[in-house]
Amino acid sequence: MPHKKILILHLSRLGDMIQSLPSVKLLKEDYPESEITYFGIEDFCVPLKNIPWIDNLVAIPSHDIKGISTEDADIDIDAFDRLFQKIPELNTHYDVLLNMTHNRGSSYLSQRIKADEKRGRIFSKENEIVIAGNWGKYLFAVARNRNDNLLNLVDLYVGMAGLRNSPVSCYLPTDSEVDQQCLNRLKEHGFDSGRLVIGFQLGASKSLRTWPPEYFFSLGKLLDEQLDAQIILFGSEREKALADQFHKSAPFTFIDLIGRTPLADLPSFLKNVNVLVSNDTGPMHIAAAVGTKVVGIFMSTAYFRITGPYGHGHIAVQSNYPCAPCLDSTICSQPLCGKSISPETVLQGVKLALGIEAGLTDGSNGASLYISDFNENGTMIYKILDEKNDRFLPRLRSFHDSKAFVSQALWNEWLGLKPDSDFQITGNNDEIADTLQDYKNACLLYRKLYAQGVKACQNIISEFRKARPRVEFIQDKITHIEQIENEIKNVESPLAILKDIHELYSTESEYCNFPRLAHEFLNKYSKLEEIIHCFEGRLNQINQTLSQNA
């Protein structure tokens, strides 16, 4: 293993941090001799203390993170200077730096830390943000095109770390003493270890992503009536108000742990739960990390494909609203999509997570149910459980799924992932044929544009080799390149991720003189042409596979 000292930078929220842990575990498994340093925000680092494969956990205090973990264009250099003075690990030389943080401040931090190899989001020499590596580029491109992607954030981090994807379980070890203490505390509240236990995580970091508390209440009643389940409410101190309805009128018994589970103890508490029903939030990922089955509820900006609980057999309940998940530009002031997810649908999800035959629920067009599994290539996949083809909302979700299956099949090769031998696309056959044709047309268009770009760059380069380059000719070619770039910017096609990858490649071009710039652009167009070539080959394979299956 050539890399001895590895630094992982994760100055994000709790959920994303937990989703990075499988890659840390795989890193240590693959390279046991390496020394892994993990940088995180102090408030969220608490549950990471018992992880044996992190050699140095560096927790940056929240008050020091202000001005560091930021998307502001103006970098507060003084804040960074202070941090470097305070934290000696920042002044160490690393073999590999992995920046898994999604903000500008971390890119600058990555630029200042000394490392032989840097991956993820970093600053270029011109202070432009560049994303190193195919996986990193893909991760940042799908952030704006979530409907076209099937990969979970866990797998994206694993890929970014240069590791082979494979299923990872129990990636958040707990202390057995703390486990026992937490069990004792539960018993003090009347906990009966012989009964089915369902946890409710009522809150979320954003109210937009919170399933209505009255729906949790109705679900509690259904679980009590149908499964005789014990309900445990989880949440932080500031989420106490969400439990009011339970206290006022619940006809079933429940244990209220809201505000009573310090983050350090939360993994141990969650181990005692059979299923956690949760909004897309940090505790949901902690439950999955300790091996507890999760039913995740996804609405508003939350989307199950990328931030669904990682592992086998988790259930995602995704709102089918036509505008869900919200784009950055479409976040509405008063989301209604949460109300489209009925308590009956989530109950069905709980039963499925428990392995109980659930049957289909009437009137559940507002949400679709998915179950997690693993592909042959080691990545996780959420598979639809209750495909309904007779109403618009679930059919639109199914259309998104079909598109995402094709899109993912195309990108997998570029990411170095093997295609599954039993490749299938769910959905209507005519629509799948249309979708494939749309992708083919898009490839044709991009191939034409990139070929034009390559030719224009080659013309500029050869003109500059002449004793007297013709300025007008070069100017004409530069104008042509500008037109190509503009056309790519405005092209409407299903290859939306490619458009963003194109932009990410563009930021890698250094400001320099024309002949050099032509070389840079030639390099970019050639790389993108290769992607298209790869897509076209894969599309032919998919067509063949589908014809054979038909």
């Binding site: 409907n147 089918n320 609203y321 036509p322 505008c323 919200c326 784009l327 950055d328 530009s329 479409t330 976040i331 509405c332 002031s333 008063q334 989301p335 209604l336 999509c337 489209s340 507002g366 109403r391 618009f392 909302l393 059919r395 639109l396 259309f399 598109k403 629509e431 910017k489 405005n490 409407e492 299903p494």
Partner: protein, 330 residues
């Protein structure tokens, strides 16, 4: 309350002036409409000649002053494009004890005349919230309030929609985003109606050389199985994500016809984007949804009916007039 509604000289807000005037009457107010639309021809004839244009606007001012002197309103109510731009005149009206209101039903990013006029009004109604409100505050306007568009139930009385069915249609102006997206709309019997579309060489343009009248628009809406409602944007590739909800959303819903629209930040305050109108976040989804709904008549009708019921309950000009009167009374 004596309310003088000052109508627009030209543009798409003329019917809205009539609608809110009628709504004030319907709820028992004494409203009069100063209908400037009859000056439209003269406006277009004079607008490129400074001297004649000056004379024209002088005539408009005199007409307004005469009306105010004759009617002696408690309230002057202007709507986007109403000729209420003279700050000195507005100050004089205020001194005379007249409450000044303006309903700015435009996108503040495209039409910026609000900067000049907004501080002159006692009540400035907008169809957008922040960041517009912050900019209004910075411009010295403090009494702003959100007032969304509405449906004119009186305009619903015309006998239209009996002609040949149109599978998919769009009525409106060729803003850059519409030109961009409609250029990729390949089939499904799409038809476009609206002034200036002829310049864009789009094969689906049916009427592109003139403004579509209100009655014509309603006829097209009713004959269309699917009405495309794509909000205007100056950015070609922008789909959805703007804030305000356009008048067409309320009109289509109020007429009980089916629409597919782009998602708006303020939409859920007025409609359910999964139950009453279908609001989408990408042009690809829009194209797919068109195909879907052309095959699903009953589902299409069910959405349209729910949208109409919502409009009748909450989004008529009568309701807006009641809201305005309540604000003025307080």
């Amino acid at each position: 309350m004596r309310i003088l509604v000052v109508g627009a000289i030209q543009g798409g807000t003329i019917p809205m002036c009539r609608a809110i005037h009628q709504a004030f009457i319907d709820i028992g107010q004494q409203s009069e409409l100063l209908d400037f639309s009859e000056f439209q021809k003269e406006f277009f004839e004079t607008r490129n000649d400074n001297d004649r244009s000056y004379q024209f606007f002088l005539k408009i001012k005199i007409t307004l002053l005469e009306k105010v002197a004759g009617f002696q309103p408690d309230v002057i109510f202007g709507i986007a494009q109403s000729p209420l731009h003279d700050a000195d005149m507005l100050t004089e009206f205020k001194k005379a004890g007249i409450t000044l209101c303006f309903w700015f039903m435009e996108d503040y990013r495209i039409f910026d005349y609000w900067k000049k006029i907004a501080p002159c009004f006692d009540h400035f109604f907008t169809i957008q919230k922040d960041p517009f409100w912050k900019e209004l505050k910075d411009a010295g306007c403090t009494n702003y309030r959100y007032l969304p568009m509405a449906f004119d139930t009186h305009a619903d009385c015309t006998e239209t929609g009996e002609g040949k069915a149109i599978p998919v249609s769009f009525v409106g102006a060729p803003y850059p985003n519409r030109v961009h997206f409609f250029s990729t709309f390949l089939n499904d019997g799409f038809q476009i109606f609206g002034e200036d579309w002829n310049r864009n060489k789009n094969p689906w343009v049916v009427t592109g050389d003139r403004r579509i009248t209100e009655n014509e628009a309603y006829d097209i809406y009713r004959r269309s199985l699917v009405n495309i409602n794509l909000h205007s944007s100056p950015f070609p590739g922008e789909f959805g994500g703007g804030d305000f909800v356009n008048p067409r959303t309320f009109e289509l819903a109020g007429l009980g016809v089916f629409q597919l629209m782009d998602m708006r930040k303020l939409l859920t305050l007025h409609f359910d984007p999964g139950e009453e109108v279908i609001a989408l976040t990408s042009w690809e989804d829009m194209k797919w949804a068109v195909k879907y709904f052309l095959r699903h008549d009953e589902e299409r009708k069910a959405f349209a009916e729910k949208a109409r019921a919502r409009v009748m309950k909450e989004h008529t000009y009568r309701r807006r007039a009641e809201e305005i009167i309540e604000i003025l009374s307080n």
